[in-house]
Amino acid sequence: MLRVVVLYPDLLGTYGDGGNAMVLAARARARGVDVEVHDVTIGEVIPRAALYLLGGGEDGPQRLACDLLVDGGFVDRVEEGGHVFAVCAGLQILGTTFSIEGDASYRGVGLVDAWTTRGPTRSVGNFATLVRGRMMVGFENHGGVTELGDNVEPFGDVVVGRGNDGIVDGFRTPRVTATYAHGPVLAQNPWLADELLSAVTGQALAPWPSVADRLYVERCDAVSTRRSDVDRTGGRR
C-alpha cells in the first residue's frame, strides 16, 4: 500500500493543489499500485507515509502550517524515508527562512538549505521550466525570491516566468522535489507525476496514455509560440 499524505489542505490548498494527490493516485492505480490518500488537517498527527504533498497558501495560513509541521515532527518523518513534493508556499516552508506579512523573516522547516525573501514584484502567469531536458509547464503566482545554498541543486531552469529568481526554479534532493509552479502542476505534466511515482515506489512504470498527454503537448506548444527558442516537442533542449 502506497500512502500519500496531503499536509494541511485546510491551510495550504489555495489553487486546486488537491489535484496533485488526485493525479498521483489515479496514475498509480492505473498501473496496479494500491494507493491510499490521506489528508492531514489542523490538529491531526502526521503519520508515516511514502510521499508527502505540500500546497500553496496565503501568509497567515502558511506560517501556521509551518509551525504545525515543525511541532508535528515532519522532518523526522522525512528522515525515516518519506518523499516530499511541494509547490509554491510549500516550497518556501521547506527552506530555512521565509518572509511574509511585510518583511518579517520567519523560520521554516529547514529540510533544505534555501531561504526566501520578498521580491520587489509579484509574478503571476504561465510558467515553464526545463527539468533535465524535459519541459515542465504550469502557472505561478507568488512574490518570493528564493536563494539556494551551495550544495542544493535547483529543480529546473526557468524558460518562462520567474521561479526562484528568474534563472532557476525550486530545488531537488534525493527525496525532496519543490517547484514554484502552483496548483495541480502534475495534471499538466504526466511525465513528472510518473517520475515521482517511480522514485517513491522504486519501480519503473508502464506507459499509460491518456488525454493528459494531449494537454501536455498543447501547453508546451502554448509556451513555445511565445518563446520561439524553445523546442516545440517539449523534449530535449
Binding site: D10, G16, G19, R122, Q188, V211
Partner: protein
C-alpha cells in the same frame, strides 16, 4: 435616453455629455454593449463623477464572489418599477457612472466588483450594502480571499460607513468583514461552500462547523441575532414565506433571501417583494433556454469552484451535460480551479468538454473518473435532439450566447 444633469457641476455635466456621446458611438459601431468606454471618459473628465451622480439617490450595493448579478436583478425586480443599475454587469466605477447617467430614478442597485467595494462605498454613500459570500475566484489577479475580507472590513467601519450591511451570517469571511459595522442585519442561510473559510480570519486556527452553526476557539462565531433565516421557507419580519422561485438552485434561494432582507430594511413589504422576485425567469441570458441546431440548451454561468458546485444541483436528470471552459483574462488565466470543483458528483453521466481549455477539463474529469468526450468542433453536437444543460465560465458563456439563439 435622457441623462440626469440637474444639480451637477459644469465639469460633471461635461463628463456626462462626453460619456453619452462615447457610449452611443460605441454601440452604434457595434463595439460591445457600450458602457465601460464612456464611463472611463466621464471619470477622466470628472474623477468625482460617481459621487456627483449618486448624490440624493438611494443606492444599494451588492458584492460577493458569486450571485452579484442575479441578486442585483432580484433587488431591482423586487423594489418595483424604475430602479436603475448596471444591468449589463459592468461592475466597476466606469460601468457604475454609465448606469447612473442612463437612469433618472431615485432608486439604484449597483452590482460591485469585490475589489472595488471600498471606493464605491465612499463615492455613493449607499443606504444598504449586501455582502453575499466570499470565496476564491480568479486568484491569478492576486485578490486572495482573506485580504479581500480585510479590505471590506476596513471600508465598513463606523468611521467610513453609516448605512446598513445585510450580511450572510453563514459565511465566516463575510461575518469577519461585517462585524465591525454599526448597523448589521444578519441573515442565516444554508452554506455549502466552506473550503475558503476553514481557518479563522482572526487567529488562523480551525473553524468548527456544526449543522447550523460555526465557531472558533478564539470566540469568533456565527452571529445569533438574526433578522432573517432561510431553511425550507424564509423567516423574516415575524412571518414565514415560501420562496417558490422560477430560477433554479438553492444558491438562488440564498440570493433571494438576502435581496428580500435588504428591501424589507428599506421599508418594502415582504409579500410584495417576494411576489415580484418570483417573476424573474432569466438574468442576462443565464438560466434561460436557448436553441442550438435541434437542441434545447439551458445556459448556466460558472466562474469559480463555489459557483460551479452550486450549479450541479440544478442540472436536469434527463439532459446532456456540456461544460465549456476558457482561460482568458476575464476568466482568470489559470484553470487550476477546476481541481477545486467537485466534478465527481457527475459520475455516471458523460460530459462533453468544450471551450479553449477543454483538454484541461477533460484531464480533470479523467482524474475524477468522470466519463467525457473532448469536442473540438461544437458543430457536431447540433443534430441530436436531447436537451442540454451547458455550464460555462465567463467568456465561454459569452461565446455560447453568441452561438445559440433565443427559443
Amino acid at each position: 435616453m435622457a441623462p440626469m444633469t440637474l444639480r451637477l457641476s459644469w465639469r460633471a455635466r461635461l463628463a456626462v455629455t462626453s460619456l453619452v456621446v462615447v457610449n452611443t458611438t460605441s454601440r452604434w459601431l457595434g463595439r460591445g454593449s457600450g458602457t465601460v468606454a464612456g464611463g472611463r471618459v466621464g471619470l477622466a473628465i470628472e474623477p468625482k463623477l460617481l459621487s456627483e451622480l449618486a448624490r440624493a439617490r438611494t443606492v444599494v450595493l451588492v458584492t460577493g464572489t458569486n450571485g452579484k448579478t442575479t441578486t442585483s436583478a432580484m433587488l431591482r425586480q423586487g423594489w418595483g418599477s424604475d430602479v436603475g443599475g448596471n444591468v449589463t454587469g459592468a461592475n466597476m466605477p466606469a460601468g457604475h457612472v454609465a448606469a447612473l447617467c442612463t437612469s433618472r430614478g431615485p432608486r439604484v442597485v449597483l452590482e460591485t466588483d469585490e475589489a472595488w467595494l471600498a471606493a464605491v462605498v465612499e463615492a455613493t454613500t449607499p443606504a444598504v450594502v449586501v455582502l453575499l459570500n466570499l470565496s476564491r475566484d480568479q486568484l491569478d489577479r492576486a485578490n486572495e480571499v482573506r485580504q479581500m475580507a480585510q479590505r471590506w472590513r476596513d471600508c465598513l467601519t463606523p468611521q467610513r460607513f453609516s448605512g446598513v450591511v445585510v450580511a450572510n451570517a453563514a459565511d465566516p469571511l463575510v461575518v469577519f468583514a461585517a462585524e465591525g459595522s454599526t448597523h448589521v442585519r444578519w441573515v442565516h442561510v444554508p452554506l455549502a461552500w466552506r473550503a475558503d473559510a476553514s481557518s479563522c480570519p482572526h487567529c488562523t486556527r480551525a473553524i468548527t462547523f456544526g449543522d447550523d452553526h460555526w465557531s472558533c476557539e478564539c470566540g469568533f462565531s456565527q452571529p445569533t441575532d438574526l433578522v432573517a433565516r432561510l431553511s425550507e421557507v424564509l423567516e423574516i419580519a415575524g412571518g414565514s414565506y415560501p420562496l417558490d422561485l422560477a430560477l433554479p438552485g438553492e444558491f438562488n434561494e440564498i440570493n433571494a433571501a438576502l435581496a428580500a432582507t435588504a428591501l424589507v430594511e428599506l421599508g418594502e413589504d415582504v409579500e410584495l417583494v417576494l411576489g415580484r422576485i418570483r417573476t424573474l425567469h432569466s438574468v442576462q441570458g443565464r438560466y434561460g433556454r436557448r436553441r442550438y441546431g435541434n437542441r434545447d440548451v439551458r445556459l448556466l454561468l460558472a466562474k469559480n469552484p463555489a459557483g460551479t458546485a452550486a450549479l450541479f444541483d440544478s442540472i436536469d436528470v434527463d439532459s446532456e451535460v456540456w461544460v465549456a471552459i476558457n482561460a482568458q483574462v476575464a476568466d482568470g488565466k489559470d484553470p487550476s480551479w477546476l481541481y477545486d470543483v467537485p466534478f465527481e458528483v457527475l459520475r455516471g453521466r458523460r460530459i462533453a468538454c468544450l471551450g479553449e481549455r477543454r483538454l484541461d477539463l477533460a484531464t480533470r474529469l479523467l482524474y475524477g473518473s468522470v466519463d467525457c468526450d473532448v469536442i473540438d468542433d461544437p458543430d457536431v453536437l447540433r443534430r441530436a435532439t436531447t436537451p442540454v444543460t451547458l455550464v460555462a465560465n465567463y467568456t465561454a458563456f459569452r461565446d455560447w450566447m453568441a452561438r445559440t439563439s433565443p427559443c
